[in-house]
């Protein structure tokens, strides 16, 4: 793997991890909200 390819690989992995982290945080918040709402049912 050339240095250019290596840099591109690292860049893609970083951006994927960021997106996945954001998605996970979103679901944590969503599940918390659902739990609070449903506790009143």
């Amino acid at each position: 793997m050339t240095p250019d390819e290596e840099a591109e690989r690292a860049r893609r992995l970083r951006s994927r991890n960021k997106v996945l982290g954001g998605v996970l945080l979103f679901f944590v918040a969503l599940f918390y909200a659902i739990t609070i709402v449903r506790m009143g049912d």
Binding site: E5, L30, I34, V37, R38
Partner: protein, 309 residues
């Protein structure tokens, strides 16, 4: 036929996103939300948001599974050759995993957070699109668009059931409206866009049965759509505002379909009637569902004589 190229770099997240067909998803979100808002009763905004989110995630999962299965077909058609799988930007196995994860996640969250009947319908719609339509019937029958339309018809029904928790006549009618709307919508497009479905062996109606038969079928579905679209009003599930809007919109749809249905393509034809019908078909669906929601909200506010929930 080209086959997918080997992938070495990890795929960009945007290619996973593209796998969910975001443009189709916007219509799914709109009709699902309308079904949810038009349903009698109330739903907590958080739960309502979750329901629409799950409908969207399920549609995205089904779209990913569809592209996983059709990667080789997509590679052979100009319109689809640049999708992530045929272009080699994404590994096929990754698309399959992504599709399954989205599908299972959407159904589980819908069941646990919203309602298990809505979750069951969502699971059915994903299975219907990914397996019954994509794998089984699309390559086998020129009526594939009619069958595919059934998959697109689920969202408003799921949104409605998320609120009411039961399948009544109204969600079934909303299903029927999109079901009968899809064929004239798609075939109008198929008449003026030269596609290469024939090259990859997908039997699209204009190719298999010819242009005349396609035009007649467009007219036939537009005729059926008229009574189906005003049925919610006649059945008492929606008010006169919706009924009036549906009547006007469907008569306009029928008028445009009549022009398309009864003419023959000439040499060097600009295909204006077909393009107008296709363009109007999109306006039609948005306006019809918006009218349904407006009707419900107006009667809930006591602005007009309400329908009994």
């Amino acid at each position: 036929m080209r086959t997918a190229v080997a992938v070495t770099l990890p795929a960009d997240w945007r290619d996973f996103f593209a796998l969910t067909k975001p443009r189709v998803m916007s219509l799914v979100i709109f009709t699902g939300l309308c079904g949810l808002l038009a349903a009698p009763g109330t739903i907590n905004p958080v739960i309502g948001f979750t329901a629409v989110l799950c409908i969207a995630l399920g549609a995205g999962g089904a779209a990913a599974l569809n592209q996983w299965w059709e990667a080789d077909l997509d590679a052979g058609m100009k319109r689809t050759a640049s999708r992530p799988l045929p272009a080699g930007r994404l590994a096929r196995g990754d698309a399959l995993s992504f599709g399954i994860i989205l599908s299972v996640l959407s159904v589980m969250v819908m069941g646990l957070g919203v309602h298990w009947l809505a979750a069951g319908l969502l699971a059915l719609s994903i299975f219907y699109y990914a397996v019954i339509y994509t794998i089984w019937l699309k390559p086998r029958t020129p009526q594939n668009i009619v069958i595919g339309g059934g998959a697109g018809a689920f969202p408003p029904m799921i949104g409605w059931v998320a609120v009411t928790g039961e399948i009544t006549l109204m969600p079934v009618l909303l299903f029927a409206i999109i079901f009968f709307w899809t064929p004239p919508h798609f075939w109008a497009l198929a008449l003026f866009v030269k596609s290469d479905y024939a090259k990859v062996g997908i039997p699209m109606l204009p190719v298999v049965a010819g242009e005349r038969a396609t035009r007649h079928q467009i007219l036939l579905y537009a005729l059926v759509l008229l009574p189906v679209s005003i049925a919610p009003w006649l059945a008492g599930g929606a008010g006169a505002f919706y009924g009036g809007a549906a009547l006007v919109l469907s008569l306009a749809f029928l008028a445009l379909s009549l022009r398309v249905g009864l003419r023959v393509q000439a040499e060097g034809d600009a295909m204006r009637p077909e393009k107008r019908l296709f363009g109007f078909s999109i306006v039609y669906l948005f306006a019809l569902f918006a009218a349904l929601v407006a009707d419900r909200l107006a009667s809930a506010q006591g602005l007009v004589q309400g329908t009994v929930a």
